[in-house]
Symmetry: C2
Subunit: 353 residues, 2 copies
């Protein structure tokens, strides 16, 4: 079935669009009361992720309220380590935790290969269901954490303030770290390709923790593995190209290298001026971003002004997907999201004439 709204896919391929497409990282999330209700019904966050009907429901909720140009799979970035036997769980009010953590070389060597169909079938079921329910309205984005980001959680056992454990591991056992990242890159490639086969029409790699690395470690331990993944992704689906997006938080210093990784688009956090980013990447790829999520705490006028500034900074022409520079925060008033989304569509038309 033909897509009714394919602005998002066109912008990722630097093709002309009528207005700038927009979606939000974490658009299906806690800022929405209907999300909180479904999550309560599921029992907890992990069960919500693992129940395709409910995960599909929350993925569609933001599209019922707002004119978003894409839907994104509702899931967690840590499904892969969980499927590899690390035992993902969430403590109330805390971030993710693992029952088993990677401490020594043997832990990496013994890490089982992932069988995506057997181990993560619930994710593919969710993808298929969302795709079916979207009924061609907007495209569906699949996603995964990056190898480096998954490794951070697997070695730290959860989030971290300083990432001491994973850095200690990397600096003392670089070859074992590479083995872990290779295993994860293979698993992630399979995972993303399975999502594409199940119906995802674009994929995003979340490199949430790439930005904590030195430049040379970023290239060696994060970007290389994302490149490998991208080069092994299915390149076409439904007769059109299947675009990839790489989002490295705090990756502004490495923009040219990320843009040349084979990705179709680079996700930008809010710290970089998008016009500067555009000059730096040239025509090598599209850009996605990059409003500070906390602009949504401001007045309607502040939100519209900031959207206008970002559009102006990007300027005329193709290759921009509007987004926040990070996931939306749970405390945001849902009404502000309408102001944001409508401003993007309304104010961007003049840059696409």
């Amino acid at each position: 079935m033909a897509l009714k709204n394919d602005r998002f896919l066109k912008a990722l391929m630097r093709e002309p669009v009528d207005v700038t497409p927009v979606w939000m990282m974490r658009q299906a999330g806690r800022y929405l009361p209907e999300y909180r209700a479904t999550r309560k019904q599921a029992g907890n966050f992990l069960k919500l992720c693992q129940t395709p009907e409910l995960a599909c429901e929350v993925a569609l909720q933001p599209l019922q309220r707002y004119e978003f140009d894409a839907a994104i799979l509702f899931s967690d970035i840590l499904t892969i380590p969980d499927a590899m036997g690390q035992g993902l769980y969430f403590e109330e009010g805390e971030g993710p935790r693992f029952q088993k953590v990677i401490r020594i070389a043997k832990d990496v060597e013994q890490l089982p290969a992932l069988n995506v169909t057997a181990d993560l079938g619930y994710v593919m079921d969710t993808v298929s269901l969302i795709r079916r329910e979207l009924n061609g309205s907007v495209p569906l984005i699949g996603f995964s954490g990056s190898p480096w980001t998954l490794a951070c959680y697997m070695i730290e056992g959860g989030g971290s303030k300083d990432f001491r454990k994973v850095k200690e591991f990397m600096y003392n056992n670089p070859e074992v770290m590479h083995l872990l990242l290779e295993k994860l890159a293979i698993a992630i490639t399979d995972y993303l390709n399975a999502q594409i086969r199940a119906g995802a029409q674009a994929v995003q790699i979340f490199d949430t923790w790439g930005g904590i690395l030195t430049t040379s470690s970023y290239f060696d331990f994060s970007l290389t593995y994302m490149k490998n993944i991208i080069s092994n992704l299915i390149k076409e689906a439904d007769g059109r190209p299947l675009p990839a997006i790489v989002f490295t938080k705090n990756g502004g210093l490495w923009l040219e290298a990320i843009a040349n990784s084979g990705t179709n688009a680079v996700g930008l956090d809010w710290t970089i001026e998008i016009g500067d980013a555009r000059k730096r990447v040239g025509k090598s790829c599209s850009l996605q971003g990059n409003m500070d999520p906390f602009i949504l705490c401001g007045s309607d006028g502040t939100i519209r002004d900031e959207v206008g500034k970002i559009l102006e900074s990007f300027g005329n022409g193709n290759g921009h997907v509007f987004n926040l520079g990070h996931g939306i925060s749970p405390g945001i008033n849902p009404d502000k999201v309408s102001v944001f989304v409508d401003a993007v569509h309304e104010l961007s038309a003049r840059y696409h004439s």
Copy 2:
């Protein structure tokens, strides 16, 4: 009295030196058992800061162990808001907290002007004492938090994961935020000049949280105020120039602008390649940094290799002060610091011939 070792001051002024000078952010700190003993004797961290004899003792401890080329005042970056009546305290195992937080315009308007001599005399006493005890061996660095960084703590009431409160305040009340930053800039200028009069021979502004801002907000709400401070600092002491260092964590995107702020040196975190940074700043200023602090978890060989790579990346010539890209972490083995400091001196000689 003439300085016996003035490498640090010379490097900050881009003058020739025999070897690259080195010091470490948080060099007087919890990784040292003798520090922990003195802190215990003081009762707690704040009392340690407020007792000149003990603060002087811990400031000198690292110099007894290592060949550092500079000492730094031992104090906290939050002495100014504390002196303004915000009520600084520390909870065991937690970061800093304030009893009073800035919530509304009135809180900013009523914030008293700082009288550094009356309110922060203990800091100046500490500076004088350290300077006297150093006895001309190495120069003494004074410091302050940046206006933006102090404002973050004063509005958040402590540290933060997402800085929602301070951003909400800034985006909703930009003019009140500017008033707060102006007041803080005046206080910080007085504070640093008082440290210089008391004996500080260089000053560093810690802009710990500038990196959480968008580019335009960084310029408007952080860098502008640091520029104002720098332009009003005492420019000479003991017949030599008094250099300033600006350290914005995650400020790599804004390097040229920071370098042109009037500062003599830019402190770099570990994410940027120092050779790239040098190309970008040209001859406008010196660079300080920038080894990942967690390299100190590695083997002696790893530490020496990394020191060598950073020296090679900077290359021949003047204008480099070696440092970590962030404060040393409490769990580091003190023996590793010797390896680090000795490697800098030993491996850098060939770049200064």
